[in-house]
Symmetry: C2
Subunit: 477 residues, 2 copies
């Protein structure tokens, strides 16, 4: 049956590519960090939207699951198939055309497989950019960014992927093609069906195209590194700079002292720009369409006011591109440093920005009460309420823990519980995938789950779309 | 049966108010412009979300339609019941509490019945505003703004209602309660079910609460009136000011010469700020969080560059609040002037901004070929691609037309067809209601309609929610 099925796929259309060699299968069935792996009958690479319609129709007929895959950079197992093998990986990588760029309308029409960094390279030639900025931008694809509702470093100013979309095209699990591809900022199109695909992690349908809002490339840039004694002070600084600079504030990241020390131990070259001891580093970036001098002067005035008010104790402004890169390299080394230097249980929770100090304080206190050798890590997007809090163990301490998995679960349960008690949510921008299905079921109200199941049944009645993800605890169709 | 049914409603909960007197019924069953009218068994005013759950459950049981109603300011019949009378009007007007305002998080949690202008009055006390700006803001309610996906004058900068929402609470027609009320900019909550309510015009469920993104009140403001020889020149000006001023450009409206003359005939006090004859007026507004002098200087520099490039022939900057109001009063008098001075068939179509000149030219030419006495009107949101194009007849000329209704239909068909041929859409920000069901069915792809019906059946299986609207050509349940 398996080989029969695979053989029928290329017959659907001359632009469909079928790959069944073991190496390619293995590569597409394992995610980038090697943590999640599954089985598939074949890797199928359509060349046109029409191919996707035909592939989904055949898979419905045969009861074969469809696992849409972009750059396969998901952290939580969302982009690889389950272990049963009754599935195909539908790779969008050949749907990688930038169909048009309309400079007056400030929009681009793209296929789902366009790599985020490739798009921005092309747009830069036209003095534009697409303001989603992610660590994986060299590999991740627009379709995957939509399916995950990607966030990143510039959400504060530009919002999530969802906020930067004007429409999508896709194919739902019930076989229906959907197109909302008019590049308009205003349109009454009835139910906003395409938005169901945003953040659905491939469980409702396959995204094939999108219309993206573009921005003019900023011409002025200021990057600042500051020291604050507390998260409260960091938030006061946030308020002050936002009041002065409005949307020019593009990023507002914080990193606590332990996290910076772990990074420095990992790579001494990544040393803290401010020599004295202090608790919270703030990395803020400001951009503007024009007026470098005016922007620099405004930022300097705002930081002077924050210093004056005692919200920050020191502030450095990057004097050149190399200094800016040095600031950002510290921020971007968090994951590698934690993995190299110890055991870190990190999180992707958000709370209202006003609740960040309470969140950090409670996590620090409550986790240490249970795990005395644990220490509190924090690095993330304070301006969005999304600090990636973590709990760090020196390797020696963690090896002493009886049960790694149980400890992780216990810490997660505590952190998630505290986030929700403060009006937050355990998951912000990394998706649910397979890894976070259980907390998803715990923290989603029962009637919301009931509605999700109503929609899943309506739009993917056979359950062929990416089974086993988000809220589906059965591993296979 | 009717009175039996009505009597059972207040028994559901002490906080439900039932109104059955003829005057109130008539008022809630007719829309503000008197064009659409229907029948209802009762006006029901819940006091809590729980009341709405109970009301929907009873209506499902009895097969009575539910017509959610906010400020009843819909232009196209979306907010009033059909003529059959087997319905209740569910007025949200008592759910009018501002539940909280979080200044650090820049969010407000509100009930659906809060009047837009009341919210902004309250927010102004805290140096904040909710950036949706509409002619009906003194009457329209947040829930209605969401149900219609309201647009308005500041979409260029802040987007539509949808873009300013962080989540909603509501009750679907299948009885399920939905809540996405965590005030977070990032959250992985599974399917974005609340977004289905945005723009659904009450046909899927009732919106009961919302979380809104706030903005700091701008401290600097510049309003300019310019003259341009063509729409192409106006778009060149748009590009130049946006390149210099980025998001500080908050509105970019255009008004053509005929439209301005109609306004002047209507009220001579509303005379054109620029004395000489010219084709297109541009009304642009720029705001910033701080720095009035810097903003004024930047705008002046950008307008000087546009003058230099020949994109505009003249430019006036409002010297004070009275002058600014005088500029805006011209823009806001369009509807009243057209109604008073002749017959105008106006439209709410959008096209990509780059296609606006072709759109205007084709409408002008093709409509006049069919109706030689017609003249071409235009006033609207050029920055969004949403110019409200219109066709104007002097009263005498229009009276000469054989059939008013058929002429309107013929003009609409032409304008809608041209918009779609240019990659646009016939409807932008005024909804579909009952009035635009036929073009909606014409211009929505069949597979999109099929998906809409799948969702309608799944979320409102008995079809009790606001029957007869958007794509439902049966008038009643």
């Amino acid at each position: 049956v398996t080989s029969d099925f695979a053989i029928r796929i290329p017959a659907l259309s001359p632009t469909i590519e079928l790959i069944v060699d073991a190496d390619t299968l293995r590569r597409h069935c394992t995610d980038y960090n090697g943590r999640n792996t599954g089985q598939a009958l074949a890797i199928v690479r359509p060349g046109e939207t029409g191919d996707v319609v035909k592939i989904v129709a055949l898979c419905r007929q045969e009861g074969v699951a469809v696992v849409p895959q972009g750059g396969n950079t998901s952290d939580y197992g969302g982009s690889v198939p389950a272990a049963t093998g009754r599935s195909i990986v539908l790779s969008l990588s050949r749907l990688n055309r930038i169909l048009d760029i309309d400079l007056t309308n400030n929009t681009a029409r793209v296929e789902a497989g366009v790599v985020l960094a490739d798009l921005n390279r092309k747009l830069a030639e036209h003095d534009r950019w697409f303001p989603v900025s992610l660590g994986s931008e060299g590999t991740c694809q627009i379709g995957g960014n939509i399916a995950m509702n990607a966030g990143g470093n510039t959400v504060l100013r530009y919002g999530m992927m969802r906020d930067n979309l004007l429409g999508v095209e896709g194919v739902f699990g019930n076989g229906d093609h959907y197109a909302d591809m008019q590049p308009l900022r205003k349109k009454c199109i009835g139910y906003h069906i395409g938005d169901l695909l945003v953040g659905s992690e491939g469980t409702l349908g396959v995204i094939t195209k999108a219309i993206l809002k573009l921005q003019h490339l900023p011409k002025a840039l200021v990057t600042a590194w500051m020291s604050a004694a507390s998260l409260n002070d960091a938030l006061q600084t946030l308020d002050m700079v936002r009041q002065h600079l409005g949307e020019r504030l593009t990023a507002f990241e914080v990193i606590n002292q332990l996290q910076r020390r772990v990074i420095e131990r990992y790579q001494p070259a990544l040393k803290d720009p401010i020599a004295q001891d202090y608790e919270w580093a703030i990395l803020a970036e400001f951009t503007d369409t024009a007026g470098q001098e005016a922007l620099s002067a405004s930022v300097e005035a705002a930081l002077a006011a924050a210093l004056e008010a005692g919200a920050i104790s020191d502030a450095l402004i990057a004097a050149n591109g190399a200094q800016r890169q040095a600031f950002w390299r510290i921020r971007e080394s968090v994951l590698d440093a934690n993995n190299a230097m110890g055991w870190a249980v990190t999180h992707d929770a958000s709370v209202p920005v006003s609740k960040l100090p309470a969140f950090a304080e409670r996590v620090d206190k409550e986790v240490r009460a249970q795990f005395p050798t644990a220490r509190f890590l924090a690095a993330g997007h304070a301006g969005d309420g999304n600090i990636h809090l973590g709990v760090f163990f020196e390797k020696a301490d963690f090896d002493g823990l009886a049960d790694f998995k149980r400890a992780t679960q216990a810490i997660n349960a505590q952190v998630f519980q505290i986030a929700h008690a403060l009006g937050g949510h355990f998951s912000s921008e990394h998706g649910i995938g397979t890894k976070h299905r259980m907390p998803f079921l715990t923290y989603t109200p029962a009637s919301n789950l009931a509605l999700m199941r109503v929609l899943k049944s309506a739009l993917d009645p056979q359950g062929i779309m990416n089974p086993g993800k988000i809220f589906d605890t059965a591993e296979a169709v």
